[in-house]
Each structure stands twice: as C-alpha cells, then as structure tokens.
Amino acid sequence: MSSRPELSPTAGAEAPPDSDLERAIAAVNGVIVDKPAVVELAFSALLAGGHLLIEDLPGVGKTTLAQALSLVLGGSWQRVQFTNDMLPADILGVSVFRRQDELFEFRPGPVFANVVLADEINRATPRTQSALLEAMAEGQVTVDGKTHTLPRPFFVIATQNPLDMAGTYPLPDSQLDRFLLRTSIGYPSAAEERRLLVEPDRRQLLETLQPELDSQRVLALVAQAEALHVAEPVLDYIQALIGATRNHAGLRAGLSPRAALALIRTARAHALVRRQDFCLPENVKQIFPFLAGHRLQPLPESGLDSRSIVEEIVANTAVP
C-alpha cells in the first residue's frame, strides 16, 4: 500500500461533494495520525456490513480508532475489555427473574450496541469468544431459548495483541473469517509522530468529535454501496485472485465462494468510501490482502506465511 493512487474528482464527480461520509472520515483521520488507509479499511468494513479485527501492539491507537469510529457514527456504542474470567453472559446478557412480575427479564449485555469495541479478544476463553463471534455472524443473540435481535447497524471492532501470548487464547483459524477484514495499524511516520507529541492529548481530541452519521444514514450508505456498479473486468479480476488462492501450492485450501462474495461487497464499500461511483480494480487490489490474509492457511512445509503468499498472488495476478 505504498502508493495509493486516488481517483481524481473527474472519476468521482457524481459523489456528493463534502458529504457526511466524507466529513466522518475526515474527523476520524483528524484523531488517528497518519493512517488514512486503515481508516478507509475500517469504513469499508462498516459499509460492507462486516466486522473488523485489528491486530497490533498496544499503544498504536487501536482503541482510539474504535472509539473515534463509534463517536462519528453516532449510534450507541459499547466497549468490552476481555479477560480470561469472562463468561458468555457478560457479553450477551442474562435473563433475571423479576419477583414483582414473576417473569424472567432479559438484561442485554454490551453486545447490544451499534458499535462494539471488543478489546484484547484473545484474552477471553474460547467459549466466551465464540459467544461473541456467533452473535457477529447471526446478528442476533439467543439466551434461554429466546432470540433477541441485535441493533442495526451492528459493527464489531475487535483488537488482538499478537505478541502478548502468555495466558491468551488466540482465535482459532476457523473463526477468524467471522471478521470481514483483518488489519494492523503500525507505527506512524516520524513527522506524524511529532504531531502526535505536540498536539493535545488524543482523549481530548476524541471528546471534540461530533456524530456525523446516524444509524439510518449508515444503513442507507450500506444500501448505496451494494448498488455500486462492478464491471466485468473487475469481476474477472476478483475471480482471478480467488482462483489463484485455490491453485497455490503453498496453501492448505483456497478462498471460498463466501470469501469471494465478501471481497466484491467490500470492494464496493471501499469504492464508496473513496467517493467513486463504480468499482475499480484498485479497490479489489487494496482490500484483498486484508480480506484474504486471515482466511488462508499456508502449508507448514512451504515455509511461507499467508501474508507473503497473498502479496505474491497480488503481484502475479494480471489486472484485466
């Protein structure tokens, strides 16, 4: 993602200038220093109706990003700090017996919010993790035989510390694909880090954020993204990339048709985030590593990791 050509206004002329989406993105970028691509990815995951997993070291701004996102989105938001003694009920909610009514009443857990920040998800036990992951996949929660629908939009931003392995339960490979995209943030550049040092504290900055969107608007944007035009050559490109994962000798298995559908959905959302009114191969190309990386398992004997395989596939797949 070193060079990121942006389509000039000629190409995106139809997008409403200075829209609320644009303002929301600009607001998050004002808080997260020097990471416009990550912010783009986060908005793409949101508008594609998926969830985001951020894997990085502590202190690079994972939580800040999640908070900023939830603030500009305007809906309800919840933060869950995962620990190893946490139970599924702590996330989903519990039914309690109300003596006066002689009835069970469901008390929704923190998952009932438009934006959920699941911090350090790998510190929870697999049982608790899967409770959240199932809720993410279904869009609903079933407690004591009763199904409770989660609010829409429903967007989970989970963070995971890849280095802090002691006493953690890394998400199993098979459940990683509950997240639409997986990304990391990385260190800012020297100049931008200087800005971080000079400017007021991020927490103060966060307090200044105003909701630019609301739930209805987000749902409308999701619908708008779904309607975006994807031309045949872009579909060819998507199929070529997916096909390459299925034919790669270093991989246990290729990407599923579900992953292909996710790719096209996210590429559309990415195009919308960039104010394009049609999908470009760039959208696919830039989304693909974050969509495929955690869904592919390299064969141990190939000596390669999934990241380098994905890079190799992108570098060798012709753009039609």
Partner: protein, 656 residues
C-alpha cells in the same frame, strides 16, 4: 514473472526425468558389464530416494571421485574411449553421475534433453522396426518429463501443479504437434548420395551371414537363424523355385578341408553379358552383413553402382554392407559362361591336395572308365546319390582328414556343404573342372507374392562343373538327395528343436511382422538419395540440387507449422477487444517503446502514477486518459468513449 525456485525439486519432475533417462539407457544397459549397469541404476534409485526425502546433494569431492572412478572403469572395461559402445556407455555413466548433482531445474532439463539424444543413439546399433515403438515410448517419456519440469519453472505463482494425466496428455499433444515437422524433415532433408561417414564394423555384434570360405559344417549355424538375409521384388515373372539360386562367394581352392576363393582382389569380369531374351529384372534389399558381396541370380548383366562383378560372376560392393542396401539387377539365365575354358582356369578347377581321399580317387577312376562322357558320369553320380542310402540331415558329424571318403562311403548323411564338397572332389578326381558356389537358395513369398523373403536359414552351397558346349553348369548334388530342400525351401527339412511351438499362427504372425519390417525398410530406412529424388520427381520437381531441396524443406516447414503457430498466437491473445481497449493497448505499446511497460498486475491508475513520475510533461495528460479509460472500462461505459478514442490516438509519448 519470476517465481522463487523451490528449495527442493518436486518428486514428480525428478521421477519423470529419471524414467526418461532409464528408458533411453535401457538398450545400452543390456550391452554393458553388469557392474556398470548397476552403477547407473543405483545412481537413479539413490536420486529417487533423495527426492522423496528432500535430501541434498552429496559433497563435491565424493561426486568427483565417483564420476572419475566410473570413467576409469569404462576405459578399463571397453579398452579405451573409442567406439560407439564406449561412447554411449560413457554418456550413460555421465548422466547417471549427473543424478548426484541434479538439484536445479536446469540440471533436470539437461538430463531430459540428453535422453532424447540417447534414445536416438540406439539406431547406431540396430534399425529394427521394434525400435520405432521404443523411440515413441522414450520420446513421450522425455517430453512428459520436460512438461513436468516446465511446470515447476513456468507455472504462474499460485497455480497448482499440473495433474499427472494432464501432463501425459500435454506430452502426447506436443509430440503429435511435432509430427508434421518430423515428417517434413524426414522426407525433404537433403540426402547425400554417399554417407559422410560409414558406420564402424560389427554393426551386427558379431553375427554374420555367409563367410568367404567353406568347410563342411560351417554353414550349419545359419540354418537355425531365421533372421532375414535379403528381400527380392521381381518385375514381371519370377523364376521357378528350382532356379532361385542366389549367387554368393565362388570357391576354387581346396586344401583338404576348406574351400576358399583364389581371388584376393576384385578380379573384375571382362566378359560382356547380354540381357538376353529371358532377362529377369528384380531389386534386392540386402540386410547388413558386414561383407562386401551382393547376391544375384545367375548371371548378373551389370553391377549396381559402387559394385563390380568378378570373373566368376560374384557381385562385390566397394564397401562392406553395414546398412540396409537396395540395388536393382538384371540377370540373364541363358548366358553361357566360358564356352571355352582357359588353361589357367582349368588347372585351378581340377586341383586336388595330394594324399587325401584315396577311396574317392579310386571311385572317380572307376567311374571315368565306365562313363567316358562327362554328362553321363555326372548323371551316374547323382543317380548314385539318389538311389543309395544317402540322407540329408543338419546334425552331421564333423569330418576328418579324408573328408570325402568318410562322407561318401561311411557317413552318407550331411547337408549341402557335405554334398557339394564331396561331389566337387569326386568330379575333380574324375577330371571334370568343378567349383563351389555358396549363397542362398529359395525364399518364401510374403504377402501373396509381393516379395520374396530369403532368410539366413536359406544359406546353401552347390557346385558348378564345366562342360563342353554349355560352359559352367550348375549341379546341385543336394537336390539329388533331398529334392524337397530345393523345391520347398529349407524349412521343409530342418528338424527344429522347438518344433512344439511352431504353430501356424506363430508362423503367420512372423510373416506379418516381416511384411511390416519390409515396408519399414523400404520406405523409412531405405529412403535414400535416390528414393528422395524419385519422390520429388513424382511430385513434379525433378533434379533439385540439395540447396533447392533445403529451401523447399524450409518452405514446407513454414506451411506445416502455420496452423500450429496460428493456434498458439490466437490462444496468447485475449478475445475480442473493444475500441477503447484497443486504443488503451495502443498507448501502452507506445509507452513500452520508451521502456515504460505496464506490468500485468498493475492497475491502469497505478501505471499512470508511474508514467507521471517518469514523463513529467506528458504524465498529466496520460493520467487523465487513464482515468477516462477506467471510466469506460470499469464504469458503465456511457459517454466519454469518443473523446477518449480521439485523445488516445493523438497521445504520443516522448522522453523528456
């Protein structure tokens, strides 16, 4: 699209390459000392195990040592580094040694490619039809190995290895695609009238036909040899069976046990033999036999090219026959050889060693007294052979010092050499000039009456006596004893050891195979300079110089490969392009000339950014064109197209 080479060659490619090499080496392995063949097979097996276990190559010093040892042993085993057997063995050993360092794609490809050559070297040793099948199997294996190797090397990253069946199919298709080229090269490659080099001797590895001397017992090993000696095609009426005497070496000198020819040189015939009224026209395809003589019916009118006729009407080629040779002949059966016998020839044809065969001499004197006329005397001897208890057998006892005495009075059983030799001694003793002729007699019709197949087992010896008025006259004493031998061919009298297995269908199968072999000989091996000329003549292209034939060959090659080229080019090009795509690719082509080539994996806009950096003046224009193209190509294609086409056409990039 460089793909990082895997650290270990895939087992599949290694296995196919080794299979190709082993098939190529197989006929040579059989001719090698066992320990050498063991070294080669062992090296291959070792390499397979290493490929399975993903091992690495042995240390360089060990490799060097083993290779050096193998070469030294070859020198010892073959006595030097000269000769075809040594050279092919050396090649096999070097390739086997290559197994020890076959750890890169390049090495694999080398071994597979040299395997093709190794397969072809087999034709230095034998040109039998069966090796055509071998050639096909070997080439197919080597081609599949190349497909497998190419698969590791040229496979785009991420593509799965080609399935086994697909690789086999690919190899077969490649071979088939090469067929028109191979056929064109075969038919049109300029042939030289003379080979550039002759094959060294011993093409047959010691197996020979007739020898140039005769002592009773020497031909017998030929009788059980079913291999073809030559094939004859007649123009017009073939001679009756009892006239199918194929003349070979003529023997005059007898030292008591062995008959030899007195003429060491070519001793050319000076007499003119006219064609006569009953002339027979025929052509002979002679299998290589390492000797110089050619076989003919009595009496050849003139010698084929590169051959002479000796005084006793034997055809001698200038060089030993080391390859299948075809020649055409005219024979005059009515020619009278030597109506008058010169004194020198007469004394040569009457000479007998002293102190041998006293009883035969006695019998001759007695016969001479009773029959003053030569013809009557001969008839009497033949009648004697026929009426007394003389037998024809192939399991005859060896003869001692007085061979003719032993045979005529005690043994009385033997085969043609015994009869010819004893008869000649008896005739000479009776004062009738006699010489022995060896050659072949008879032959079997193949495929109805397409051609006559003469086998080694048809080898025969007979005599010629000189008679006043009819000159040298053929007398076959064997015919008196065993007329079947002459009428029906050698097969009728030979008691085969494996007679149980001699079923009719087997014989039929053998005959059918010989028919195919005959066609193979005639149209493939025998396709020489003359045949090529005939062929071109029939196409209406007479008298082409080799240079012209070469040009013709190139032309035909271009034509026969055109469909393949067309097919490949069409596959390489994507399907129909829209006008915008054509204009875009036109611009890409113009930029490529400035060393600004779009990488296939680059998107148009990524490429535009690169162009903008490289061409500051025109970059912006190109960028806007790229954006227009994206709008048309990836957008909904509405509008813009005309403007883009017009601008793209005028875009001509220049280096700043």
């Amino acid at each position: 699209m460089a793909h990082p080479a895997p650290r270990h060659l895939p087992f599949n490619a290694v296995a196919w390459t080794i299979a190709a090499f082993l098939i190529a080496a197989l006929p040579h392995l059989a001719a090698m000392p066992p320990w050498l063949a063991g070294f080669i097979v062992g090296a291959c097996a070792w390499r397979l195990v290493v490929a399975r276990n993903r091992g690495s190559r042995p240390p360089a010093l060990l490799r060097l040592l083993l290779t050096g040892m193998a070469i030294a042993l070859i020198v010892l085993a073959f006595g030097g580094l000269w000769g075809r057997r040594t050279a092919t063995a050396l090649l096999c050993v070097m390739l086997a040694a290559k197994m020890m360092e076959m750890f890169s794609m390049r090495d694999l490809r080398l071994v597979a490619s040299v395997s093709f050559f190794l397969i072809a070297t087999q034709f230095l040793f034998s040109e039998k039809l069966i090796y055509l099948g071998y050639l096909v199997v070997g080439s197919l294996t080597a081609t599949i190995a190349l497909v497998r190797i190419q698969d590791i090397h040229g496979r785009p990253a991420g593509a799965a290895p080609v399935a086994q069946a697909a690789a086999v199919r690919n190899g077969a298709v490649l071979l088939l695609m090469a067929m028109p080229v191979a056929l064109t090269l075969f038919v049109l490659f300029p042939r030289l009238a003379q080979p550039l080099w002759g094959l060294p001797d011993q093409v047959l590895d010691g197996r020979t036909g007739l020898s140039d001397d005769m002592s009773p017992g020497s031909i017998s090993n030929l009788f059980l040899d079913d291999s073809p000696a030559f094939r004859v095609e007649f123009e017009g009426r073939p001679p009756p069976p009892d006239e199918r005497y194929w003349r070979g070496p003529v023997l005059w000198n007898f030292d008591g046990s062995t008959w030899t020819s007195p003429f060491s040189g070519d001793a050319p015939r000076r007499r003119f033999v006219p064609e006569g009224e009953a002339a027979r026209h025929y052509s002979i395809q002679l299998e290589p036999h390492e000797r110089r003589w050619l076989f003919a019916l009595d009496y050849p009118v003139r010698a084929p090219d590169n051959a002479t006729v000796t005084v006793d009407h034997q055809l001698l080629n200038r060089h030993p026959i080391t390859a299948l040779t075809r020649y055409e002949l005219v024979s005059n059966p009515d020619f009278v050889d030597m109506p008058t016998l010169p004194d020198g020839a007469r004394s040569l044809a009457l000479r007998l060693p002293d102190g041998r065969n006293p009883r035969t001499l006695e019998l001759a004197a007695e016969l001479r007294q009773r029959h003053p006329d030569d013809r009557e005397l001969i008839a009497a001897v033949l009648r004697w052979f026929r009426e007394e208890e003389f037998f024809y057998t192939l399991s005859a006892a060896p003869l001692g010092r007085h061979g003719a005495d032993e045979f005529l009075f005690d043994l009385r059983s033997g085969y043609c050499e015994y009869y010819a030799s004893a008869f000649a001694i008896l005739m000479r003793a009776a004062g009738i000039p006699t010489r022995i002729v060896t050659g072949y007699q008879g032959g079997l019709w193949q495929g109805g009456s397409d051609y006559l197949l003469v086998r080694q087992s048809d080898a025969h010896a007979w005599t010629e006596v000189w008679l006043q008025g009819s000159g040298w006259t053929r007398v076959d004493p064997t015919a008196a004893v065993s007329p079947d031998r002459i009428e029906q061919g050698s097969g009728s009298v030979i008691e085969r050891p494996g007679a149980v297995f001699n079923f009719d269908w087997l014989a039929q199968l053998r005959n059918r195979y010989d028919r195919i072999q005959h066609l193979w000989n005639r149209w493939v091996l025998g396709f020489d300079h003359d045949r090529q000329r005939d062929f071109l003549q029939r196409l209406g292209l007479p008298d082409l110089t080799p240079e012209r034939i070469a040009v013709l060959m190139l032309l035909v090659l271009l034509i026969v490969t055109a469909p393949i080229n067309y097919f490949l080019l069409r596959q390489a090009r994507p399907a129909r392009r829209t006008p915008a795509e054509r204009a875009w690719h036109g611009m890409l082509g113009r930029l490529r000339r400035l060393n600004l080539a779009k990488h296939p994996a680059e998107t148009p806009l990524e490429f535009a950014a690169r162009v903008e950096a490289a061409l500051p003046q025109q970059g912006a224009a190109f960028r806007s064109l790229a954006e227009m193209y994206c709008r048309i190509h990836y957008g909904d294609r509405a509008g813009h197209e005309a403007a883009f086409l017009a601008q793209a056409r005028h875009f001509s990039p220049r280096k700043a």
